[in-house]
Symmetry: D2
Subunit: 352 residues, 4 copies
C-alpha cells in the first residue's frame, strides 16, 4: 500500500500538504462529460468571472501548471530581447527556478541586495542610469514576491510606491504571488488592494500552496499587455488541454474566500509556533513572522535532533537558521507537539 | 450552473473527453495527508515501477504536465546548441507547439515531406551530407509520432529500421507518443515492443488523451541520457510540486493495462465510424484508419451541415477533408447516431 | 612565406576574392588618430549619409560584421517570441547559418518549396490560416534573398507584389541582400528601386562579396522599426568598437557607384562563362544566369576532372549540378581559360 | 573632409585609438589575390602557429570579431542548458554586453561582490551548495577578467588557485582577456604563464585594444573542449568569410611580441599619469594602477572642467571617481599636458 511521509506533519513547505476537500469536490464536479479543451469550457469561463470579481473588471486570468510557468509567461509579456528584470537577490525567479527566465526568455536578472526579501524605491534608483545605453540590458520590469521568500509582507503602500516609481520610469511591476493569499490574510485586506489597486501590472497567483492540487494563474491586470499571453502560455508549455480541471481548482479557492480561510489558518499556526518559542533562550527570529513561515536561529545541536523527527529545511547553514512552514491543514496539535519537542531540543542543546 | 459542451459527443479530439473513473479514484486516494513534493513521494515511486515493468528495467519516467513539455524536455536531453531535429512536416512539434522547440531549445526543425505522417530511412538519408560542416545545423535526433498526426501507425519493424539508421549515424530516435496507447492497441502489441525493443531512445508518453486528467511522461529509455532530465524539467516549467497527483494518474492507466482498454475501445469506435460510411458515394478516406481517428473527404455542403450539430475539425479545407476523433468514452450509440446523420448529410449534398 | 590559394582563380565563391583597392584605401585613410568608438565617429556619419542618398532619407544603416549578423539582427527587430519567418527552403538563413535564427532569436522558420530560389504571393497565402491561433507560431515576416541562392533575381515588380501582400496581412518584408548589388547591376536599376521603393522593410546589405574586406549593413527602411537596433546589434555581437574601419568600407563601395562597377563586372564574367559553354552538348543550366553565378549540369566525369584544377562547389550531387561564381576581380582571361578547360573536360567525358 | 575626434588625445578608452602600423601592413599583405574563406587560408594557419607558440601546443585559436563574441562562444563550449557562470559583478559579460550571455546562451550569471574586480576561492565556495539540486542553475564555469574592469591584475598564483578550485569541483575557468597583454606586460611574464600554465581552460584574447583594427580570438586551451567551437562561432555570427584579414592582425600582434611592446607602453603612460597626480591633495586612487587605466577620485568641479577638453568616463558618479585609459599610441606629451591641466583643475576646485 502506498504511504505518505512517515513524519507526523511536515513543517518543510506548504506544498507537502494535500488538496483541500472543496478543491477536490470542484474537480470531481468538472468531470461532466465532454468539454472544449484549452479553456473553451464553462469552468474556465466561471474562473475568469471570479478573478474579475476579485481583481477588477480589467483582470484576465490564465491558468498555469506551476509558479515558474506563471512567472516566465508573465514576465515574457513585457520583456523585449534586450531587457532586464530588477528583483531582490532572494527572488524565487532568481534562486529556485533553475534559470528558466534566462533560458526561456533570454532575460537578464539584475539582483538587488535585500535584508528581509523586500526591496524599496531606493534599491531601484541606482539601476536606471543604463537606460538608453546599448551596452547594457535595459531594466524593464521590477519583480517582487508577496509574501517574500523570507516570509515577510509588503504593505499596500509599499507596493504602491514601487509601482509608482516603476511606472514613472516606464517599467512594469510584476508580483510573484505564490503566497499572495497569506499576505492578504495577514494584512486583513483584499487581494485587489495589494495588486490592482496598488499598481501591480502582472501577477503570478498561487493556488497550489493554498490547498489546490496544482493550479496557479497569471493574472494580467493591464489589458493592453494581454494579447500575447495565449501564445506565450502555449509556447511556455503551460496550456492545459483539459483546462477545466485546473480552472475548477482556482474557482474553488476564490469562492467564498476559501483562499483567505486557508491562508489565515496557516498564518495563525505560524504565529502559534513562533509564540511557543518566543521565550526560549538561544532562539531568535531572523525575520518577523508575517505569514505562514518562521525563520528561527537555533542551536546547531537542536536542529540536528529535530530533523530526525520533523521535516524542515535549513535556511542558512552558517548561521543555523531554519525555516518552518505551516499549511492550511496544520493543526494546533501539530504545532503544540512540535513546540514541545523544540523546547526540549533547545534546552537540551543550551544546557549541554 | 456550469455546463459542458452542448454537443451530443465531440468528435473533434480525444481531449474533449473527461477523466476515466479509475484515474479519478487514484487521484482521490493520493490525497492522504502530507507527502514529499517534486516526486519524493510514494506515488511517484510506484509510477516508476509500473513504467519499468512496461518499458524495461532501464526506463526512467518523468511526469510532465503536457505533451509539449514532454517533447521539449526530451529533445533537450540530446540537442546541443547547434543541432537540428529531423521530423515529418506534419509533426506536432512542428505544427502545433507554437515554436516551443525553437524558443526553449533554440533548435532547428528540419521538416521532411510525408504523405501519411510517416517517414522512412530514405527520407533521412539526404539530410546527412551536412554532418560536420559548421555552416549547417547538425542533425542530431529523428522525431516521429506514434500514432502520427494522420492517425497512421508505424509497425515495430518500421520503427526499428529508423532507429537502426539513426544510431548508425550517431543520431537519436525520439517518439512523440501522445497516442502510443492507441498504436499498441491497434497493432496488438506491447508498449515496449514499439519503443524500447525497437530502439527508441526518448519517448513522450501520453496519458491525457487516454483518460487522464492531465498527465504525460517523458520516458528516457537510455539511462546515459537521463542525468540532465531533472534540471531540464524544472527549467522547462514541468516540475509539479504535488507530483503525486500526476504520478497517480499515470499509474492508474498503466495498471492492469487500462491504457489498452481505453485505447482499444476508442480505436474500435473509429473503425465502426469508418465502416458506417464505407459504402457512401462521395466519401473517401484520406488515410487508412489505424487508430482512433478518421480522415474522410466529404462534400463541402455536408461538412457545413454536420458542423452545426457536431464538433469536429476541418483537416484540409482545400480538399474538404475533415478529422473525426473518438475517445475512451465514445459509445457505439454516439457513433451510430453520428453515422446516420453523416449519411443523411452526404446523400443530401450529393443528391442536390 | 604566406601564400594564397594555388588555384588560378577560384570559381567557388565571390568571398574567395580579396579586397578592392578603393576599399583598402578608405581603410587606410580612416586610420587618422583617435575616433569615438561604436559608431560615434565621422566615418560612420559619412556612411549614414551615403546610405541615405542611396536608399532614401528614412533609411538607417547599421554596420555589421557578416551577413548572418545582419539577418539575425534585422529579423529580430520585428519578431516577437512566438513568431515565424516565411522563407524559401533555399534561404541562406535556413540552410547556411547554422541555426542562428532559431538559437539567437528563438524563431521558427517556415520553409516554402521553390524551384529557382524565388517565392511568390501564392506560396505565402496558404501559411496565413494559423494567424491568431495560439497553437501555432505566427507568421510575422517574409524573408527573400536578392539575388537568390540560385543566382536568380526578383524584378522590382515581383518584390513590390510580395511587399504589398505582406503588408496587407500585417507582415514585414525582409531582404537578404548579400548580393543585392549584383541584382541591381543586372536589372540596370537603382538599389532603391529594389528595396525602399518596392516596399522592403528590412535589408541586409552585402559588401563583403562586392569587394569589401568584411562589411555588411542592416538597413532599416521603416524608421519606426529602428529603435531596438542598437541593442540587438550589441547583444548580437555585431557592434564594432573601432567601427570607422567597417563604415569606411561601406562608404567606399557606395561612393561613385563602385558597388555597381564591381557587380556589373562580376555579372559580365558569369555571362561570358555561360556563353562559352552554351553550345556544349551534355551541358545544361539549372537556373538562368541573372547575376554572377552559373549553375550547369555537367557530366560527372568532367566535374571530377575540373575540380582537380579549379575551385568550385557541387550544388546538387544527385543531378551533377555545380556552381560557378565570379567576382569583381575575375578577368576575361580567367573565364576564357576556364571555358577552354571545361570544353575539353566535357567533350572528353561525353566522348568517352 | 572626414575628421577624427577634435579632442587632443582621448583618455576614455583604448578603443579610441586607431590601428598600429604593423597591423595595417599585415592586412595589406594579406590582400594577395584569392584565398580560401572561413579560415582555410594560409594567414589563418600562420595565426594558429603563433598562438601555439605563445600558449602551448594544445591551444587552438578561433578569430572573432569582438570580445563579446569571444566570450559568448567560449562560454558556450562548456555551458549546458541549465548552467550558471560564476563571475564578479563587475565582469564585462555581466555589465557591458547587453545580456548576450543570457540571450544567446540562455545562461544565468551568478554575480559575486568584489572590491577591486577580482574574486577569490572564498567567493566561490558559498555558491557550490546548489550542485546537484534541480531547482537551481548549476555552477559550471568561473569567469574572470585579466586585467579586470578595475584595471587590476591577478597574479599567476591567484589564477592558479582559482583554476585548482574550479577543477576540483568540476568547474571550468574562463578568462576574459580583452587586456591580457596589459597584464602580462605589467607582471613581466608570458601570456602562457597567466593562462595555460595557470590552468585557464578558455581564453578570450583581445587584440583590438592592443592596436588591432578589430580582432579578438577565442583560445581553447583544453583540446577536448574544442569540437563544438566551429559550430558555435558560425551560429554566434562570428565566422568571418575573408578570415585572413582578421588572422593577419592577430599574427602581427603576436609576432616579435608586438603585443607586449604596445601594452607595456600603454601601461607606462598610465603609471606616468598616476605619478603626475600622486601628490595632489583632493585626489585619491580608487584602485591601484596595474595596467593602462587610472581610477582617481577628483573634486566634482575639476571633473566638469576637464571633460570640456578631454574625453574620459565617469566611473562612479556618486563618489566622483573617473576612469582614464591610455593606449599604445598615447605619448608622454599627451600625458604631461593632461597632467598639467588636471593639476590646474584640481587646484582650482580645491582652492575655491
Amino acid at each position: 500500500m502506498l504511504t505518505s511521509t512517515p513524519f507526523p506533519k511536515s513543517f518543510a513547505s506548504d506544498n507537502h500538504a494535500g488538496v483541500h476537500p472543496a478543491v477536490l469536490t470542484a474537480i470531481l464536479e468538472a468531470n461532466a462529460g465532454d468539454a472544449l479543451p484549452y479553456g473553451g469550457d464553462a469552468w474556465t469561463t466561471a474562473m475568469q468571472d471570479v478573478f474579475r470579481t476579485e481583481f477588477g473588471a480589467h483582470a484576465t486570468a490564465h491558468p498555469m501548471f506551476n509558479g515558474t510557468g506563471a512567472n516566465v509567461v508573465g514576465l515574457g509579456l513585457v520583456l523585449r530581447a534586450y531587457d532586464a528584470v530588477l528583483c531582490p537577490v532572494t527572488a524565487h525567479i532568481n534562486t529556485n527556478e533553475c534559470g528558466a527566465a534566462e533560458r526561456v526568455l533570454g532575460a537578464k536578472l539584475v539582483t538587488l541586495p535585500t535584508g528581509d526579501g523586500k526591496i524599496s524605491v531606493d534599491d531601484l534608483r541606482g539601476q536606471l542610469s543604463v537606460l538608453g545605453d546599448e551596452h547594457h540590458s535595459q531594466p524593464r520590469v521590477v519583480s517582487i514576491s508577496q509574501v517574500t521568500e523570507c516570509g515577510t509582507c509588503y504593505t499596500a503602500d509599499e507596493i504602491a510606491e514601487l509601482a509608482e516609481f516603476a511606472h514613472a520610469h516606464n517599467l512594469f511591476l510584476h508580483m510573484d504571488g505564490a503566497r499572495l493569499a497569506n499576505a492578504a490574510a495577514e494584512l486583513g485586506c483584499s487581494l485587489r488592494s495589494l495588486t490592482t489597486d496598488a499598481g501591480v501590472d502582472l501577477l503570478s497567483f498561487g493556488g497550489t500552496k493554498n490547498g489546490a492540487m496544482g493550479a496557479e494563474a497569471l493574472v494580467v491586470l493591464r489589458p493592453e499587455l494581454n494579447a500575447a499571453a495565449p501564445f506565450l502560455r502555449k509556447q511556455g508549455m503551460q496550456l492545459a488541454s483539459k483546462m477545466r480541471f485546473v480552472s475548477a481548482q482556482l474557482t474553488a479557492l476564490l469562492t467564498g474566500e476559501l483562499w483567505r480561510e486557508n491562508a489565515a489558518h496557516a498564518n495563525a499556526m505560524a504565529h502559534r509556533l513562533a509564540q511557543g518559542i518566543a521565550d526560549l533562550s538561544g532562539v531568535s527570529l531572523r525575520y518577523p513572522v508575517q505569514s505562514n513561515a518562521v525563520f528561527p536561529a537555533l542551536p546547531e545541536k537542536a536542529i540536528a535532533e529535530l530533523q530526525q523527527r520533523y521535516l524542515f529545511h535549513v535556511w542558512d547553514a552558517a548561521e543555523n537558521v531554519v525555516r518552518w512552514v505551516t499549511a492550511f491543514d496544520t493543526t494546533p496539535e501539530h504545532v503544540d507537539t512540535f513546540v514541545a519537542d523544540i523546547r526540549l531540543a533547545v534546552q537540551d542543546a543550551v544546557g549541554s
